[in-house]
């Protein structure tokens, strides 16, 4: 039996009808056609599917879409403002923090949520939190550098504002 639900993704409303067994990752990708959110394991280990739900980073493969009814969801497609990249996106490019790019959306959304916390994570917290997601290509070094660099940019601008 399908449930009519409304998901708000990156500020846009999506009215969809879904079977309860479809995960949030499935529905974001297949029904809402936002395929920037990737699925790497479907059992919660890789973090490729990370999206932000009501401010928190979550594994979209471990939430059923019906559970997200009414929630504010953010995905990688919502990071840039038009042509203006988000500081994290720019930092990932500048620091060569991606190779195949399959893990990138997950790392970007995880990092976005971390850096948007009122108290930005210190280095230890950052390393701990970034160990949540898997990347098979980069060896992580440049991901850490990029997130650190973006953190500086974001906090410099937020202080200036």
């Amino acid at each position: 039996m399908k449930h009519p639900i409304t998901l708000t993704i990156n500020g846009h409303r999506h009215d969809v009808e879904v079977e309860p067994r479809r995960t949030l990752a499935d529905v974001i990708r297949e029904e809402c056609r936002l395929t920037g959110t990737h699925v790497g394991c479907e059992h919660g280990v890789c973090g490729a599917c990370t999206v932000i739900v009501d401010g928190d980073p979550v594994r979209a493969c471990l939430v059923f879409a019906v559970q997200a009814e009414g929630a504010q969801i953010r995905t990688v497609e919502g990071l840039a403002q038009g042509a203006q990249l988000h500081p994290l996106q720019q930092a990932f490019i500048d620091h060569h923090a991606l190779q195949c790019g399959f893990c990138t959306a997950g790392f970007l959304m995880l990092s976005t949520a971390l850096l948007e916390r009122p108290a930005p994570p210190d280095d230890v917290e950052l390393q701990e939190a970034l160990s949540s997601n898997l990347c098979r290509c980069t060896g992580y070094k440049n991901i850490l550098l990029a997130v650190r660099a973006a953190s500086k940019v974001m906090h410099a601008t937020s202080e200036a504002a």
Partner: protein, 798 residues
């Protein structure tokens, strides 16, 4: 000259011999021109869609009206297949068809890429199992349904009638039977040179070891995927989601399906990591194509992680029994190795190449006057094996370097000193190794191995590092350092071609049969093209992985992409450049010699005027343009690069490891890579490749293992059991790229870098653990799991 190292937080610097400019050789680019991006760490062309979530990986592609395929797989490791009952599955709403081997009569097994082999062909994998299943995960039936959930529901309802057969999980055990009359050893690899017996007879002493590398693999973060589509209107069959070697796969698929290669096109989408395993032809690729034709709808298949961990190629599992004959001064007179290669259940597209390469590259960069190797290529009831990044090298470096450590230990000398005494010296280059592999007659083209070793030691301040570790050990810590030397191979020929075209806007397109697996291929090719031609690399668009755009292609494997495609690009760009200058000279009414191309404009040397836009030159060369005169139409050229043999980059790995004596956990504290890449097109990308490779190596050395129980049941079928390293497991890797030995074999001097990071990791970590626990020679098996390490510690205590 001091070596330049990229530690955490720095952009990589290249250690270039003084006086060598970072420009492309052969262009005679005057130093007045803006330096080309060759050799510069520019950001990647690939990144924008990837960071914006606009990329298109296989799962992201859907066609209207498509069907979804789900494979029914064997739940047991070895059994006779007596029957398949799909009636319950077919009864489910939305199920369109269920196929078994009976639906595939006449479709051959997936062939060897390098052509038929009487020895190996009987062991190839059928598309769907016929009368036997041979590993857990062996495809038995294919379900086609309108929705992936329904397909999975239906696949569960297909019942298999199986009668169990004895299971073989150990490649060193007595042989079993693949099929009646076919023993589980299809072939034996034998190689060697020199007089082994004489060497052993005159040796001062001999050293003998048994060493094993564990089964692990590439495990890209994106699982495999394939979408088949048949366009009856044009009689064209399409496979989307191809990777690595699209052209060769097109040819193989054309043969299997009895079609002309002109009517079957492969399309590479974004590729979420390859590492050797993705892009081979697997049963699912053939099935989606057949189904697309027969069911007359697009057919999509996306592997799930559970399937990926039991059906995608695995690698590395070998047991070696190796001995060395050593002279009194530590010069190794001979190496004699017998090894067992666990191929898993079937021979796949690579045949016995990994075993062959192991045998070919085992001697590494040491002089070694005599060598003999016997490789038993054996089948077991596990997932089939094939290449994984640095195939045969990760394994053989572990074996060779462990052997050299053991020799040093036996003599009571510094393992580094032992290596110095045995490394091939620069004046011996080019050095014929005296071994043939399937691919090549091995001749090391260039290199100064002792110099790289010395630079590495200097960069690490070796005496101080040793002293620090000593002091920490005195405080009770179990820390140690290990080093490994290796020779890589890259640029497997024989030939590759590209076509470069400049359009009327001045934009440049390079069409290549190379492929991208996420390694920055587009950027590197664009950089080479841009430097040679004289344009901004961002104006260069690289079209790759499409068999409908270019007839031939080598793809991306065996470190080919940069060397082969890069050299072909350089050659094509030189031609385009010549055509442009010739046309421009006539347009500007001056001599060709006085012209140059800078930033996309043809200018007079020493003249600050605007010159001519390359796009205008292209317009002048249009077929219809009068100005063209007798010239060949189009500002376009093909370029080819042919090479008789491979190039051999080389490296040194150093690991510092800390062991927790209580738990048996080993943690890599520091990892250093010294690597001579010939010429680095983009040092940032080279460094990225190396750091990524190190991480995978650490996985294979400490964490990752496809273990099986005695029934052949795989024990690592989730990412909670198959342990990929996380950020927390990887130290800040330091990379020193040197350019002391450009390859004489290609115009750019480049050698591959894709496998530089992973090659010696197992060897270096093993040595570091020995050192940390003060038990030389303790580590004989990878991965060094806490359970195994604890057992080593217990041995000593007990």
């Amino acid at each position: 000259m001091s070596a330049a190292i990229a530690a955490a937080g720095e952009t990589p610097v290249v250690d270039r011999p003084s006086g060598v400019p970072a420009a492309v050789p052969g262009t005679a680019a005057p130093r007045t021109a803006r330096p080309g991006p060759f050799g510069q760490s520019v950001t990647r062309l690939e990144d924008l869609p990837l960071v914006r979530g606009q990329a298109r990986f296989a799962a992201d592609l859907s066609f209207p009206h498509q069907l979804h395929m789900r494979i029914v797989r064997s739940p047991v490791a070895h059994a006779r297949l007596l029957g398949v009952d799909a009636s319950e599955a077919l009864a489910l709403r939305g199920v369109v068809a269920v196929w078994t081997a009976q639906d595939l009569v006449g479709i051959p097994c997936i062939p060897l890429r390098e052509g038929p082999s009487a020895e190996l062909d009987p062991y190839l994998q059928p598309i769907l199992a016929r009368d036997r299943v041979r590993y857990v995960g062996d495809p038995v039936a294919a379900v086609f349904a309108t929705d992936p959930f329904i397909a999975e529901d239906a696949a569960e309802r297909v019942s298999l009638d199986l009668e169990s057969l004895p299971v073989l999980t150990d490649a060193t055990a007595a042989l079993g039977e693949f099929a009646p009359g076919l023993p589980t050893q299809p072939t034996t690899i034998r190689k060697g040179y020199g007089d082994i017996d004489a060497a052993f007879a005159r040796a001062a002493f001999t050293v003998e070891l048994e060493l094993a590398t564990g089964r692990h693999s590439g495990v890209p973060l994106e699982t495999r995927g394939a979408i088949g589509r048949y366009d009856a209107a044009r009689d064209v069959l399409e496979l989307h989601g191809a990777a690595k070697v699209p052209h060769r796969n097109r040819d193989a698929l054309a043969r299997m399906l009895g079609r002309s290669p002109h009517t079957i096109h492969l399309f590479e989408l974004h590729v979420g990591g390859g590492f050797g395993v993705r892009g081979e032809i697997y049963p699912e690729d053939v099935l989606v194509l057949l189904a697309a034709m027969r069911l007359e709808r697009p057919v999509k298949w996306i592997e799930d992680r559970y399937e990926a961990l039991m059906t995608t190629n695995q690698s590395r599992e070998q047991v070696h029994r190796v001995r060395a004959a050593v002279a009194a001064d530590g010069f190794v007179l001979a190496m004699d190795d017998e090894f067992f290669h666990d191929q898993g259940a079937y021979v796949r597209t690579h045949g016995d190449r990994v075993a062959d390469m192991t045998a070919g590259i085992l001697p590494g960069g040491y002089v070694l006057p005599a060598y003999r190797v016997t490789g038993h290529y054996r089948l077991t009831n596990k997932t089939p094996a094939a290449t994984y990044r640095a195939p045969g090298r990760f394994e053989s470096s572990f074996v060779r370097e462990r052997l050299f450590d053991a020799i040093a230990q036996r003599m009571g000398i510094d393992p580094i000193e032992l290596r110095r005494r045995n490394l091939i010296r620069p004046e011996q280059m080019p050095f014929p190794r005296g071994i043939e592999t399937i691919e090549d007659n091995i001749v090391f083209d260039s290199g100064d191995y002792p110099l790289l070793l010395q630079k590495t030691l200097d960069a690490l301040d070796w005496p101080r590092l040793q002293a620090d570790l000593q002091a920490r050990r005195a405080q009770g810590e179990a820390v140690g350092v290990g080093l490994a030397c290796f020779v890589e191979k890259s640029g497997l020929g024989p030939a590759d071609g590209v076509r470069i075209t400049v359009d009327f806007t001045g934009a440049v397109e390079v069409v290549t049969g190379g492929a991208s697996v996420g390694q920055g291929f587009e950027t590197v090719v664009a950089q080479i093209c841009a430097s040679t031609l004289g344009v901004d690399y961002r104006r260069v668009r690289v079209a790759h992985g499409r068999t409908d755009r270019i007839q031939y292609g080598v793809g991306a494997h065996a470190g080919r992409a940069t060397v082969m495609t890069g050299s072909a690009t350089h050659n094509a760009a030189l031609r385009v450049r010549a055509k442009a200058l010739d046309m421009a000279a006539s347009m500007l009414g001056c001599a060709i010699e006085g012209l140059d191309i800078v930033d996309g404009r043809v200018i007079r040397r020493g003249d600050s005027g605007p010159g001519l836009a390359l796009g205008d030159v292209a317009s002048a060369l249009a077929p219809t343009a009068r100005a063209r005169g007798e010239r060949e139409p189009g500002l376009t050229a093909e370029g080819w690069y042919e090479t008789p043999s491979m190039t051999y980059p080389y490296g040194v790995h150093v690991a510092v490891v800390r062991v927790d004596r209580d738990t048996g956990a080993a943690r890599v504290e520091r990892f250093f890579v010294g690597y001579d890449v010939g010429r680095a097109v983009n040092p940032m990308l080279v460094e990225g490749q190396i750091v990524g490779g190190v991480a995978q190596g650490i996985g294979g050395a400490l964490l990752e293992e496809f273990a099986y129980d005695e029934n052949g049941e795989p024990l690592a079928v989730t990412l909670a059991d198959y342990l990929l390293p996380t950020l927390d497991d990887i130290p800040p890797v330091e990379v020193m790229i040197t350019e002391d030995a450009p390859s004489p074999l290609n115009p750019l001097g480049i050698k591959g870098a894709g496998e530089a990071g992973i090659n010696g990791v197992g060897a270096a970590i093993a040595a570091a653990i020995d050192d940390a626990i003060g038990q030389p020679g303790a580590v004989t098996r990878l991965p060094v799991t806490p359970v195994r390490l604890k057992a080593l510690l217990r041995q000593r205590a007990g």
